[in-house]
Amino acid sequence: MKKQIFCVLWVILLISWVGSVTTFAADEIVLGIPTSIYTPFGKENIKAVQLAVEEINSKGGVKVGDKAYKLKVQIADTRGGEPTTPVHDALMAYEKLITEHKPHAIVVGAFRSEVLIAAMDIVAKYKIPHLGTIAQTPKFQAQFQTDPQKYKYLFRVTTDAAIDAMYANAMLDKLKKDFNLNKAYFIYQDTLWAKAFAGLMSKHVKETGWEELGFDGYAAGATDFSPALQKIKEQKAQVIGMVWDVPLGAGIFTKQYASMKVPALLFAGLVPPIGAPQAPKTIGPAVEYSLNLEFPVGSSLPLKKLPKTVEFLENFKKKFGDLPEAPAVNSSAYDSVYILKEAIEKANSLNADDIVAALEKTDYKGVSGRIRFDKNHTAIFGLENPNETGVCVVFQWQKDEKGNLVRVPVFPEFLAEGKVILPPWMK
């Protein structure tokens, strides 16, 4: 009997070992995605990558020399988007993906900025091209600068908090100029990227004649925002600048903002439940008038003036049944696969150093605009021209002629399809 039990255990062990060691076919390029797969960002970024992979594979794959390689995706859940997950656990998932599946490149990458910064050393150790598209902290560039040779495998294909803030600040300038608004209150999630983003907005308003009535950080797991919302009412703030990506807190904030009838214009630097296409159903009519920054363009809002955003999102909807939930970074995930394909084909090699050299010369016109990398391997974004840089957009929930709530791009001017409307209680 003991012998039989031993044999069974041995077979189970053997099966587990064989299962854990992935071999990839010789004609496959493996893309690793270590991210927080159950957050809206992780979930939708994975779909965007899958869409790009399917398109590329259906057109013959990636050509290296005479050979055409099919792309294959391997996913690992870091759970980095959950407030209770320690950075160390997320890193273990990162390293496990790399050692088990031996990806040729990593796309999407860390959800939480803290995880990205910590994972930079792991990526450098295993020398794998890494095209990050979610985490937004500007500390990426600072860390990169400490040893550019070591960190050369890491690229950021999306915006960072400084770019997000650049757009948000320009929008605040517009609100001040057009409507003479000058009292702002900021609420942010106490994490690296959100603090950096809100901090840049705070600095800007202080320098440009606004009165800053509050700058409140809440822990990522917060479930009650009434202290800040009550202060906003009492102090008669005109604009609430809110930066929050963890869905739970964002959802609670949004509903609490609506139920407390806070008479201020909500400007969501990022509050996914308000910016999402599904917001009128999830949150209700209270989303009307809220302004939302979508970074970069094409993440969830089709823009008439940028046909590639329409095409990408139509294909996304066709394949997955609905537009992406999260109003950010999905187009970057899609573009990153094409950027990688182009780099591999230019390098004509699957060697990581060759791919990195080709990535550094990237000049790709994608959904999110024209993508080139600066000396910190960060995609260049600007405020003026999608033919020169990547771009973002600010939209406002407004009612159309039929009374349906729709998202109207209002800034920058070259993307605008309508004008900002102040809520009746502010006129």
Binding site: P40, I252, K261
Partner: protein
């Protein structure tokens, strides 16, 4: 004034998190660590009734209560029955069941913006210059309803009296013919039903995530430890101490410190008075 009103709502919310947990522990001595998972599961069941089967809110709610009660009842007979009387094993079993439920929900993709319950009651009122939505008033009403309802139940019904007998002395209850496993399983069913009632009052205030289950468990523990694990008045007191503690902390030190208040309270109470404010269980040992 707003601090008072919103503090009251926050306190009742926290007490509602704890009421099911406290009930089960008070009656059967089982620390039901799957409490948070059952709470959020009931929210998803209501969501499914509304969105997948297009049922009316009330019917979805009744079905969710029935299913969560059945789950609590089944958990007892399928898992807890075998380890009954071994507190550590009971704790491991309930915790593992809770984790399994939450991880299954996560794995099945029940996270994201679309999982949100609409308010049961729409609209709001202005009260002394404070806007208060009806859903938050419903939280208050639910808190009062559950506390009064549970009081009447355990004092004026046969099963409730059996619950009390069990809570006072399991052996004596057995000697007068009260079957302890039957009462234990009923307490698990009732505790789960109470969680579902709390969920329908609280969850429409935000969106749903499986991780809420962990959070609810931590809050329930904090509130129950402060008030006394088995005490209903203690649970209300625990809710108030934690709720107002959070708001005062936000006011004095900034909102980002709110989240550590329940954890600090747990440490403080365990260090100073392990039985909690109204708890009796360890009182004798404390005196010794």
């Amino acid at each position: 004034m707003s601090l008072l009103i919103y503090g009251l709502i926050q306190s009742v919310t926290l007490a509602l998190y704890a009421v099911g947990f406290s009930l089960v522990y008070g009656v059967s001595g089982i620390a039901n660590f799957s409490h948070g998972a059952i709470y959020i599961l009931s929210g998803y069941l209501i969501w499914a009734g509304l969105n997948l089967f297009n049922l009316p809110y009330a019917l979805s709610f009744v079905i969710a209560i029935f299913l969560t009660s059945l789950l609590g009842f089944s958990l007892y007979w399928l898992l807890l029955y075998r380890v009954r009387g071994i507190p550590l094993a009971e704790l491991v079993v309930t915790f593992a069941s809770g984790v399994a439920i939450l991880e299954l929900m996560t794995w099945a993709g029940f996270s994201g913006i679309r999982y949100s319950l609409p308010p049961v009651v729409f609209g709001s009122l202005e009260f002394l210059g404070i806007s208060l939505d009806y859903q938050r008033l419903m939280v208050l009403g639910t808190g009062i309803f559950l506390v009064v309802g549970l009081y009447l139940f355990v004092h004026h019904t046969k099963i409730g009296l059996a619950f009390r007998a069990m809570a006072q002395s399991e052996r004596t209850a057995l000697s007068i013919g009260i079957e302890s496993d039957w009462v234990g399983s009923l307490s698990m069913a009732l505790g789960s039903a109470v969680s579902a009632v709390s969920a329908v009052a609280i969850l429409p205030l935000g969106i749903m995530e499986p991780t809420i289950g962990y959070e609810v468990l931590i809050y329930a523990l904090a509130v129950a430890i402060v008030g006394g694990l088995e005490s209903t008045p203690g649970m209300v007191a625990g809710g108030f101490v934690t709720g107002y503690g959070q708001l005062v902390t936000a006011k004095l030190f900034g909102p980002k410190w709110m989240i550590i208040v329940p954890l600090l309270i747990i440490i403080l109470v365990l260090a100073i008075r392990p039985s909690g404010i109204f708890g009796k269980m360890k009182e004798l040992e404390e005196r010794v």
